[in-house]
């Protein structure tokens, strides 16, 4: 791996040579460096007063735009002002309006620009080439986000193109303090990364930490923000590598990123993916959805409590069932216990195996549902419903109560607005079940304590992960378990009596 890295840098340094004056040799040399790859489009215009050659990757740039923005105006201007241009060919581009061009001195620069999607124009007798940007092929349209949908709220979602994403954020935060910082990661993929933050709001420590970690990444390839997230995670820290909890927020919605940036967080946009990661993250923020702020505060708070409850159910319910029925049957109401016992009659497995079996079946079904081609998707739900709900019970494999437990657990695990976080419950559920099956409620409590201690020790970019709770901060509880009304935050503007007071003072003075 290291050797390969070294090779790539070495190859690139070979290209670090100045471009020559002679047009034909330069182009030939350039193409040779790129191995005459077959997707390179070369357009030669040799019969003009100042001959030039346009080179670009076929699929990356829009042919029509190239001919409109470069070829036609170049030919036109040469016909009009050929005398001046023959004398001074370097003026060629300054005569064309509306095109952004950068002069390039070396082959290396030219190659780097070209692989980033720029069009390279070699002009005879100048001694350098021009890189023309902004002519990329159109990507997918801005569409409704697939995963983070809302009932009320903007229906725009990020796309794969980093520039479109940048503009989506910029359009929402019309603040001169909004900054974007571009970086590149991945020696082979040269993936563009843009940090987005508000200069006067951002926590400088967090920002510097993010920059430092991204800079220190040594990797060949980054295709998705998930890869970057893993690479810049806290894994150096003790006890972090086995933690099931992610410490980055993954966002698909420009409005969410805008509000997070407004709060002083740092958004990391990775080219090629509609998922943007935001640092730092806290535990409670995983239970906040974009919609919370577009709906009434009382309802939003209620839903937030439901989400926390659902997360607890998806984490605890199967283990509580195991622990209570096998270790503490005295805790169940008598009539319920009799019904549960009646259901268990003739079931060959112990409760733990029974639950484990159903949980594993469910995980398989869920994974099958994700990978299934759309057209045969419904088949999964039919098979799943029959297998889980009915046949297993009829065949005497599991008791009906288990089906309820597993279904409730499954539904609860879909409630969390952050998918990456609800996965943690999916893994921990099984460990919790083992604890419950070995030592009952004592084991469940023990493992919960371990989890709590672990959560308190986590950090997201140097900020405590369990923040408003573990370092107790009452101010932040305004948007923690409950969402307080917006006018609690913005007191002076929305409270009419304060406005009155201000007016009086104005008129009095």
């Amino acid at each position: 791996m290291d050797k390969r890295n070294h090779d790539i840098e070495e190859t690139m340094s070979q290209f670090d040579q100045p471009l020559s004056d002679h047009l034909e040799t330069t182009v030939a040399q350039f193409l040779q460096y790129l191995g005459n790859s077959e997707d390179i489009e070369v357009a030669r215009f040799m019969d003009l007063p100042v001959p030039f050659v346009v080179v670009h990757f076929q699929a990356m740039n829009n042919e029509e735009m190239i001919s409109d923005m470069i070829n036609s105006p170049m030919i036109k201007i040469q016909n009009q002002q050929s005398d001046i241009l023959i004398k001074e060919p370097s003026l060629l581009f300054s005569k064309i309006e509306g095109t952004k061009s950068t002069p390039l001195q070396t082959y290396k620069d030219a190659i780097e620009n070209m692989i980033h999607g720029n069009v390279i124009v070699f002009v005879a007798g100048v001694g350098y080439a021009y890189a023309i940007s902004g002519l990329l092929v159109e990507t997918r349209n801005v569409d409704e986000p697939q995963n983070q949908t809302v009932i009320r709220g903007p229906k725009e979602g990020f796309v794969e193109n980093i520039n479109v994403n940048t503009s989506l954020i910029r359009r929402r935060v019309r603040n001169p303090q909004l900054r974007f910082k571009t970086m590149t990661v991945g020696r082979s993929t040269q993936t563009e990364i843009r940090l987005c933050y508000l200069e006067d709001e951002v926590d400088k420590k967090v920002l510097n930490e993010v920059i430092r970690r991204i800079e220190s990444v040594r990797t060949e390839e980054v295709y998705e923000s998930g890869m970057l997230e893993e690479l810049i995670d806290d894994y150096g820290r003790k006890h972090r590598w086995y933690s099931p909890f992610p410490v980055a927020q993954v966002v698909e919605r420009p409005d969410t990123v805008a509000s997070e940036v407004q709060e002083g967080k740092v958004a990391v946009i990775v080219d090629g993916t509609p998922f943007i990661i935001v640092y730092p993250m806290t535990f409670l923020a995983y239970f906040q959805a974009a919609e919370d702020y577009y709906q009434r505060f009382d309802f939003a708070s209620f839903i937030r409590i439901i989400r926390l409850g659902a997360y607890a159910i998806s984490l605890y319910l199967p283990s509580l069932y195991i622990a209570i029925t096998t270790f503490h049957p005295e805790l169940v109401a008598t009539d319920l216990l009799i019904n549960l016992a009646a259901q268990r009659e003739g079931i060959p497995f112990p409760a733990f195996i029974e639950t484990l079996l159903m949980e594993v079946i469910f995980e398989i079904l869920r994974e099958g549902g994700v990978r299934m081609p759309r057209t045969i998707g419904p088949a999964i739900s039919i098979v799943g419903a029959i297998v889980l709900g009915d046949s297993a019970v009829r065949a005497g494999l599991v008791s009906p109560a288990i089906v309820i437990v597993v279904s409730l657990t499954a539904i609860s695990s879909f409630v969390a607005p952050a998918y990456n976080f609800s996965i943690s419950a999916r893994i921990l559920r099984f460990i919790m079940m083992i604890c419950a099956a070995t030592t009952g409620l004592y084991g469940v409590m023990f493992f919960s304590t371990v989890l709590l201690i672990h959560l308190c020790s986590l950090e997201s970019m140097g900020k405590p992960f369990f923040s408003p709770i573990a370092p107790m901060n009452f101010k932040h509880h305004k948007d923690g378990f409950f969402r307080f009304p917006l006018w609690v935050k913005n007191v002076p503007f929305l409270r009419p009596w304060i406005q009155h007071k201000a007016k009086k003072e104005n008129t009095g003075s």
Binding site: T325, T326, F327, P329, E330, T334, D335, L337, I338, N339, L340, A341, A342, Q343, R344, E345, G346, I347, P350, A351, V393, R394, G396, P400, I434, A437, T438, T439, G440, G443
Partner: protein, 398 residues
Amino acid sequence: MKRLLFLFLMLLSVSSGCGDKMELDQLAIVVAMGVDQIKESDDLEVSFQVINPHGASARVATEGGGSEDASVYTFTTRGKTLVEAIDHAKNIAPRRLFFSHMYYMIVGEEFARETGIKRIFDFVERDEQMRMQFLTFVAKETTAKDLMSVFTPLDENPAKSVRDRVRIASGSLGISGHINLADAIRAYVREDHHPILLGLKDISSEGSDNTDILKGINEHSFSLDGLAVFKDDKLIDWMNTKESQGWVFLNNMVKDRTIFDAKCEGGFAGVRIHSLNESIEVNLKDNKPHFTVHLDGKGYLLETSCDMNISNPDDFKKLRLAVNNELTEEIQLAIDKSMDLGFDVVGFSEWFHNQEPEKWKEWKEDWFSHLKEAEIELNIDIDITNTGMRYDAVNEDE
């Protein structure tokens, strides 16, 4: 090395587990227990009523339904101690007996009179599964075993039926809570009280044919019947219904009750009384205890066959008096019973202990001789606030 050790410890914790585990289908849920003394022998006869989940569960999803199965299984074992009897039960029931969900315990009259319920207290207090909150009865004029083999109508689960009779219907005594074993133990341990338990009586008609299920349902049952009076841990006597009613009033265990037969001119009145508040005031007069029983509350008229015009305040007062007289009579009966039996059944001692602690220390050794001389004043005041949807009784000449 450190990691290996850690892994080893983790494995230890996992492999050592499951020791206390029991699956639900390995449990025999005991809902009732009966204890009898076998005559002319040291042996105890212990009956267990165990739930048969298949029959007891209201809706079992499995096909070929188990609704034909009996909901409970009752069996009897013998032993010198309760523990021995329970141990013998293991040979009969193929499952582990589980006592945490017990509804009630019945003690046979013979056992209560001769052996004493102290033995039960000792066992139950020591056992970690038993809850003290189960109801405890004395089988009146019969054995616990006989009562437990009675099939109950309406409820599949006989034990639940008994519990609900006490809790929901609260018998005819109007006890708001119930008397459970913990209450009895508490009363037994206190120096100023004696335990009291509820009586349960077989009301099956003689010679009923058990094989005919319908007949069995209609003719075979049991009902709550009076209170069993204990001195220390031995059953001494029974209180009849009226005496028992007086007793529960004096012990402030009634929240609401219906008086069915308040006697008045020309008939009876049924009154529901509620918001009852009882207290006993203790005074010393001439070095004799003087008790004033205050009982006030509200009532509303349910039914009347009296010759009175209720809209007339004078007649209304008469009705009120009739109710108060009825209550006074009940309470007086309970006090008389206590005097007849020769010890403080009612528990005046507790009030005396609380209000005259100095004197109590002096008198507690021969408390009853002082109680005998005591003057007991009954001050009953039930206010009838509501006559229902109409005033007068329905009369022909109206």
